[in-house]
Symmetry: C6
Subunit: 224 residues, 6 copies
């Protein structure tokens, strides 16, 4: 079982890089960042449950790694499910804000993915009230001729401005929701981070017990 | 006859993918989505009649499939006929709104096609009052040198803004019409979706009987 | 003589496609559309006279076909002659408006060509008062290196907006003129369309007699 | 001498195309157009003198042809000399306006060249007061890599608008000057055009005598 | 040890170019410029300590060279750490301002790198309050197809304006901070520059003693 | 010595083209133009001294030629030194303005280079107060893949407008300074131009004597 677990980790996040030694401050930051992702994944009803959290560097760039358990194949995602995914992505960044009062470069990839999701909601799925249900970008692009082009963007500057404003609104609401969740779960967040610094890896069972003990997660899940 | 039917389905929507197992929630959503398309096709005077509705996944991406019967080759489409086509495309999305109070990613392709139709009405067919009958995009493009280009878009930002506003107006009116149709046909919508979940495939005869029994479709057709 | 006539038709509009069977509604629409082109060509002093009108589908896309007789080679066109050509192009669309109260996709190519003529008047021939006689687009383009480019369009957004407004004004005036001509010739329009539906092809002699009998064309020509 | 004259004509304007038969109206238009060029060339102090005027079609596109005698090689042109060249270019168009009250497509190339000169004055030679002496376009471009590019145009929309306005102002002043010159020389203009229609070719001697007899040219030259 | 030191210098900044003889004014400028970098690196808590300062020209373009000692590998940088890096980059420019009352072309590379850092803070790391945490540029680009493209920049002009304003604000605050630090350390700045002109190379020990003697650096570090 | 002098001239400006015969007016213009460059070079403290002035056409395009003596290699240029270079570039144009009351195409290359310098001051060297010290263009470009691109220009239209305004301000101030210098040195300007027309080449010694005799240059240098 452990062998299989290591195999999927290797596929999903790359080989362990024990040689990549972070200093203590970075380690504390990564631990809180991953704890933030994990607690949000547990707090959001539609998110995949957390299987394992690790702060052993892996692959080319990953400093930490929160593995979610794909419970089943999904073909359609609702608006709520997309918002929950954005929340999980912002969990790491907000944890850093709360624990250190300052953000870092460590959320770059999360922010890019959250912005992409928000943009898709607005421009491809018709999920923005202020923009209506028009589609602003072609979903199917030529495979070999994807020459980037100004002609691809067919909408006006006025529409571009509305899209930007809507993306920002989606991300700001998500940020507020995630702040709320993690502020209320602050003790679990710190405890989980401490455990990660100590053990480097935390499995689902330990995580669930930690949350249960604090009782904070259920409350958050209810309010979410 | 069944063999022939399966053959055209295969050509139009790809091979059945029984291995692609949706969860119940997704199935309910797909069923309502396809029921929405089907009821709109029946409710709009100029739309091709429905031959079959299926929620057996097919081909690369289709989760459901509403086959319309092409009654004859068409060479010209009037403004009304184009609007009816937009209504049928939005039927799936609005059915989801009505049945679940929330939209999903499942309408992405429908929205893209409805937006394309609305854009063509405004920029190629001179069907927008606020923009007049000028053509804003070249219909015939070089076959092998279709290099996307900013030069292709010869109009001003002011015109781009007017085009965007007109597309939005066309889609919002369509959305309102479709909401109206499906709200009044809510019982048939739910019944058809339930039948689809149960049988996976509904043929024309069953559909027509269902609509006739409820009596709602005729009323809708009259008011449309 | 008939052989020669068929030969030029084949060159100009492609082979007859008797297999392309339109439904009656489309046939009526095409007949009125071509009748509109023909009556405008006869009503405008500088337009080439009509040689033949046909609603037998030809070539790749043509559903109908109004052959004008090139009376002589022309090397220069005056402003009035260009406006007359725009009027003839809009004749089909306006006939549809008048006869059916609704437009169709059938005018796409006419609108594109009328817009191109109007754009050329404004940007290449200095025929717009509000834009003056500056030329805004290069008439001679490299034959093999016609890479479309944002650099080609050297003018400002303010100028682009003025060009768009001027094109629109030209087309709206043309539309008003054509509406006026065809409204006053409504009986001939309907008679010619009926004749086309019945015979599929109408020659010059028949057309001239039809117009003479109604007496409407001369009146229109005088008022134009 | 005649052989040599024909040889330079052939090089400058192409082979005679006697087969290209214009109708009388076009011939009258071309005759006035070329007469306009010729009178402006004689009326502007810095312009090269006229050697010959012809309305025999030549080469690919020329319907008429006014040959100016290059008196010497020029390496620098002053602002006044550039304005005189613009005036000569507009002479043809204004002659059509004055003689026929309507312009034609025949000035397309003249307008393009006049606009290019005006643009160069504004963007390359620092000859516009409202834009100052900044250069807005690179005079030396890579010979084989002249990929058109948005990056080439480094200035703002506000500057583009100012450039457009300045080009327009230059052309409008030129138009007014040329109108003034040709209106005062109307009798010579008509006489020269009549002579061209009759003889097809007018040499310098005849032109000079015609202007001398009317006495109008000198007056115009003084007032210019 | 000296051999090793020279080897890393050679790798980091290129071969010494004793043939590149600067005039005295340039030498004084370069000395103050490098002294500015060095004092800022020592004054900012998170910056890497200075190992050596040299004004012997090296490599293709470097006129001077301040070597910082990488104390450890860093994987994440906080907002404060990024701001400290910007401060060190601006140290050279501000030293020139203070010592000579005039800036030079010598800071071009520093300004580019400082601007890039500020832009990344705003567009990739979500570190700007006025723009929120949306990501405006894709961090991962195709390796071999990095065709620059207008389509890559998906945001509106309004967002571009906000990004520009935010970058400017970040750089202006940094400029004010650096001015403050160097103004208070003016005596050390001049002394260090004089020492560099005299010796061409200053090692860490000498730098630390210089700062300690003046006592100014600690004060600056406290206030920073 | 003369052989060596001719050799460097040949390298810097191309072979003499005695066959390129300018008319007297052009010669006078070129003489004043070069005299303007030369007097400005002598009047600006940081400019390289003039070695020789010539109005013998050379190379592909040069009609005149003012050779400055590079006194030493320069690696850094201060703001003042850049402004002095702009002044020297504008010297030719302003001399034409003063002597002839009218400008010509002869300054095209000077204006382009002056504009480029002003643009670099604003966008690369942070020398504009209104734009601050942000760098707006990348100094190092890929050598073989310098595909021009809209993406390269990362700043907003608002910033582009500010850059344009700042470039204009820099050039207008320079123009005013140069006008001032040459107006006060008008007698030397005319004398030097006369000497150039007479001798075609003027060496440093003659130039220095001419300026000394008039006494105007020193005064100008003091006021500059």
């Amino acid at each position: 079982m452990d062998d299989f677990d290591e195999a999927t980790d290797r596929v999903l996040a790359g080989l362990e890089r024990k040689s990549r030694v972070m200093n203590l401050k970075e380690k504390e930051r990564v631990a809180h960042h991953e704890a933030g992702h994990a607690l949000l994944a547990e707090a959001r009803a539609s998110a995949d449950r957390v299987g394992k959290i690790s702060i052993i560097p892996r692959g080319v760039a990953a400093l930490g790694y929160t593995k979610q358990l794909p419970t089943e194949d999904r073909y359609i995602l609702t608006r709520t499910e997309l918002l929950d995914r954005i929340d999980v992505l912002l969990g790491g960044r907000v944890a850093e804000e709360i624990a250190f009062g300052e953000v870092s470069t460590g959320s770059e990839d999360d922010l890019q993915r959250a912005t992409d999701l928000a943009r898709d909601m607005v421009t491809r799925y018709g999920m923005s009230e202020s923009l209506g249900l028009a589609a602003f970008e072609e979903p199917r692009r030529a495979l070999f001729l994807d020459i980037p082009s100004a002609a691809r963007k067919e909408y006006s500057e006025a529409t571009a401005r509305a899209i930007d404003a809507e993306i920002r609104k989606l991300l700001e609401s998500a940020h507020a929701r995630v702040c709320d969740t993690l502020t209320r779960q602050r003790p679990v967040l710190d405890a989980l981070a401490r455990l990660l610094i100590e053990k480097e890896v935390v499995d689902r069972q330990t995580l669930v017990q930690l949350i249960a003990r604090s009782g904070g997660a259920e409350a958050a899940a209810q309010s979410a």
